[in-house]
């Protein structure tokens, strides 16, 4: 299953699962609304290639690729 960091700008996906339970990153991802079933769009990558900007729940979020790696997604057409 692809992870969130592999998506390209403009692609949309649904979160299938988040790994790393018990870590600060897991907890923060959850609180910020990245949980199973959430719909996410990749907006862009920063000029140096990292972090990436996402849009979810009607707001924009910046996430490092190393963090997005924890998020398994299903790409929407």
């Amino acid at each position: 299953m692809p992870t969130l960091d592999r998506l390209k700008p403009g692609q949309r996906a649904t979160v299938k699962s988040v790994s790393g339970e018990g870590s600060a990153i897991y907890q923060r991802l959850m609180e910020m609304g990245v949980f199973e079933g959430a719909e996410i769009e990749v907006v862009r990558f920063a000029p140096l290639g990292d972090p990436m900007e996402l849009r979810l729940h009607g707001y924009n979020l910046s996430v490092r690729k190393s963090e997005a790696l924890n998020v398994q997604v299903e790409v929407l057409a």
Partner: protein, 749 residues
């Protein structure tokens, strides 16, 4: 405390509004306009203090509801949830639970939420509704929500939650009266939300309850009762701060108990379950109340972002913006700083003229007045930098800057948020250290505070300038690269190059820990609120002057004493005799004046050499000899520990040139060039010595103002002492290496 006072709360709660002062906590996600609302409600009636033991500021403002009812509004740090992972984040939880040392018990919660992003904002509200306290919800930025095409029915949300929900626009002051009325009604009613609360599975709540029972048995050890909400956080937040804190107090036995509770609840994945239940609850609460358009309209904020975070235009604008910030603190503040300096110089001179010679005059002029001036001279830089920071932060650009720069700083183990504090430190570490307040993660913030003073600040420039001018030949490399320019560039580079491994090592050792998440919201752009911006500038300026200023002043007086005493009157006698002889001579007044000045300078130099500083210079000479320094350079370096820029004046005095030397001074350059080792014709300075002095100044912690600011920002003496020690050692060995390598390369001539 009298027994009557102990029983007071009971009678207060039974009496009808017998108490006229209430305590309300203001809490919400970051970027919801919380500060704007706080300032709009309380105006200038704010009090800023520190919570004991942490770096979080305690901000309390007074809000007068009517003649009889006053509210102390506590501004809690912005947070996305009550699941604290550090002592700093725990403050909000402790204040809400009424167990924070030095804070009043809370009567009600004022929760602010961004109406344009209700789902995520209501996650925190779901936790606040469980506090068993009255909750008032301020739904802010309704205008932004409308521009995003959201239709929000506040009455429906209010009905679902069973509490008061008020739509406001804090930056336009819209419906603040409605909000005040709702707070007042909630305080009179004293009812927690009556709506349905998030329903957690029985297996989870059962474990929370039994954990709670066990913790009740520890009440004596803990010296307090454990609230159910705290038990919730202890169970659910694996590795969270609530757990760590209890573990420290109750020992390993408690860890085993906690683990067994978690195992019993293991049929459900704990943290995920909390999030699932809460977001489910939020969905239900907002179901009939928030209507989203199927296709969100493109907003102006998105259009701006296309330019500002674009790989080319975004980088270009960012660089231009940073140039502007840097320029303004570096050069635009200079006229103001010069004005302040010359004012205090003038004040010192006019006060001095009206006083009799002696230690008192010297202390007031060279100690106190110079010390106050030395504090206030930083104000222009602090105010200008914070004007920029407050503007950039309030309009929403700050998080974009972090987005753009994160990759670069992640190599040193830091995040994009460290960029502005580091950049500012090239002008002056004092505002730079203060600017680290924008970094939420305590370890990242501390690392930034510790490496920021390594950046070459403007006070180092005079040292570089005079030594480069005197000792680096005016040659070029390959016909165009000036050797002097190259040396200056290298000196600026030294700090930066050293800072990267220092930060990296700190993050691997002393400040080791989980990499903090870099999940930051990129909020919608908005027009900055002038009141929030100006109050921020005022706040920072005041905090610096009052808290750091007192230490700087004290240090100035000590330094004065060390360079003045023992001040043996007999020392002056031959000089006074010489002055008398000149005055009695038949020369013109012009020549007499010049000659007397020469004698006075020689007298000052002799006194300085005899002072405690001079004695110290001799005492430490063996330590600094491997760096190529004699006792005079050593003494000048020691005397510059409180403020590095004094080295120019100290060198001037010690080489009998008078105090008013500056880095442009030809006579000081010549004096340094011609100085020899005492009792030998060997030249004191050569290129390796000059370089070793410069490297020492580039790396050394010679700034009482920075240390005082670090003390204030970290709320203790531990980190300023650490900063001083590591930088001084680094400087010593850096200078040693420079001198020895320089001599080995044969640059010693």
């Amino acid at each position: 405390m009298s027994s009557a006072m102990v029983s007071a709360p009971e009678s207060a709660s039974s009496g009808k509004l017998s108490r006229t002062t209430f305590t309300v906590a203001l809490i919400g996600n970051p970027n919801t306009g919380k500060s704007t609302l706080f300032n709009a409600l309380t105006g200038m009636k704010q009090h800023v203090g520190n919570y004991p033991g942490v770096t979080v500021e305690q901000k309390i403002g007074a809000l007068q509801l009517d003649e009889n009812t006053r509210i102390d509004l506590i501004d809690l740090p912005g947070t996305y949830s009550l699941a604290a992972r550090s002592p700093d984040e725990m403050i909000a939880v402790d204040v809400l639970l009424g167990q924070q040392q030095g804070a009043q018990k809370i009567d009600a919660v004022l929760a602010i939420a961004d109406a344009s992003n209700p789902e995520r904002n209501f996650y925190l509200i779901s936790q606040l509704c469980e506090l068993k306290l009255p909750v008032v919800i301020a739904l802010n930025m309704m205008d932004v929500a409308e521009s995003k095409g959201l239709k929000i029915d506040t009455d429906a949300i209010s009905a679902a939650l069973g509490t008061r929900v008020v739509a406001i626009c804090a930056n336009k002051g819209k419906n603040l009266d409605g909000l005040r009325a709702a707070i007042k009604a909630a305080l009179q009613e004293k009812l927690p939300p009556t709506g349905v609360l998030p329903a957690f599975p029985a297996a989870m709540t059962g474990e929370i309850d039994s954990l709670m029972q066990e913790l009740k048995g520890h009440a004596a050890t803990l010296n307090r009762e454990v609230n159910r909400l705290e038990a919730f956080r202890v169970l659910v937040d694996k590795g969270g701060y609530a757990e760590q804190r209890l573990e420290k107090l109750l020992g390993t036995g408690f860890c085993q108990t906690l683990e067994s509770h978690r195992q019993k609840a293991s049929r459900i994945p704990l943290p995920a379950e909390e999030v699932r239940v809460r977001y489910g609850w939020v969905k239900e609460v907002l179901a009939g109340a928030v209507a989203r358009p199927a296709q969100p309209p493109p907003t102006r904020s998105d259009a701006i972002d296309k330019i500002l975070t674009h790989w080319f235009t975004g980088t270009l604008i960012f660089a231009a913006m940073m140039m502007l910030v840097f320029q303004s603190i570096f050069t635009w503040s200079t006229p103001l700083m010069d004005l302040i300096s010359s004012f205090f110089d003038g004040l010192g001179a006019s006060v001095g003229a009206s006083m009799a010679d002696g230690p008192l005059k010297s202390m007031i002029c060279d100690g106190v007045i110079a010390g106050v001036g030395g504090v206030l001279v930083f104000l222009p830089q602090i105010c200008i930098l914070f004007l920029f920071i407050a503007l950039l932060e309030d309009c929403g650009y700050m998080s974009r800057a972090a987005f753009l720069m994160d990759r670069l700083l992640s190599h040193a183990g830091l995040s994009g948020k460290s960029f502005i504090p580091m950049l500012s430190s090239f002008a002056c570490a004092v505002p730079g250290v203060m600017a680290t307040r924008t970094i939420e993660d305590p370890r990242d913030r501390l690392t930034t505070i510790l490496v920021a003073p390594l950046m070459s600040c403007s006070a180092r420039l005079p040292v570089y300038s005079i030594l480069i001018g005197a000792f680096i030949p005016e040659d070029t490399l390959g016909g165009w690269l000036s050797l002097r320019g190259l040396t200056l560039f290298a000196m600026y580079g030294v700090g930066l190059v050293v800072a990267v491994p220092v930060a990296w090592i700190l993050k691997k050792t002393l400040l080791k820990g989980e990499t903090p998440p870099f999940l930051i919201e990129l909020p919608s752009y908005k027009v900055p609120d002038w009141r929030t911006v100006l109050l921020r500038v005022y706040d920072r300026g005041k905090a610096f002057t009052l808290r750091a200023g007192t230490i700087i002043l004290a240090v100035s007086v000590v330094v004065w004493a060390l360079s003045y005493f023992p001040h043996d009157a007999a020392t002056a006698e031959p000089f006074n005799a010489a002055v008398a002889k000149v005055e009695a001579s038949s020369e013109t007044d012009e020549i007499k004046k010049g000659k007397i000045e020469e004698i006075e300078k020689a007298k000052d130099g002799t006194y300085l050499r005899q002072s405690y500083f001079g004695t110290m210079g001799h005492a430490v000479e063996p330590v600094f000899k491997p760096l190529g320094w004699d006792w005079r350079i050593s003494m000048a370096a020691i005397a510059s520990f409180p403020a590095r820029e004094v080295i120019v004046a100290t060198l001037g005095t010690i080489f009998n040139l008078g105090k008013d030397e500056d880095e442009e001074s030809e006579s000081l350059r010549d004096a340094l060039k011609s100085a020899t080792w005492e009792g030998s014709p060997k030249k004191l300075f050569n290129i390796p010595v000059a370089l070793s002095v410069m490297v020492f100044f580039a790396l050394c912690s010679q700034c009482a103002a920075t240390l005082a600011t670090i003390k204030r920002e970290t709320n203790g003496w531990k980190w300023p002492i650490f900063s001083f020690t590591y930088m001084t050692l680094l400087a010593y060995f850096g200078a040693l290496l420079t001198y020895q390598i320089g001599m080995w390369l044969g640059w010693g001539g």
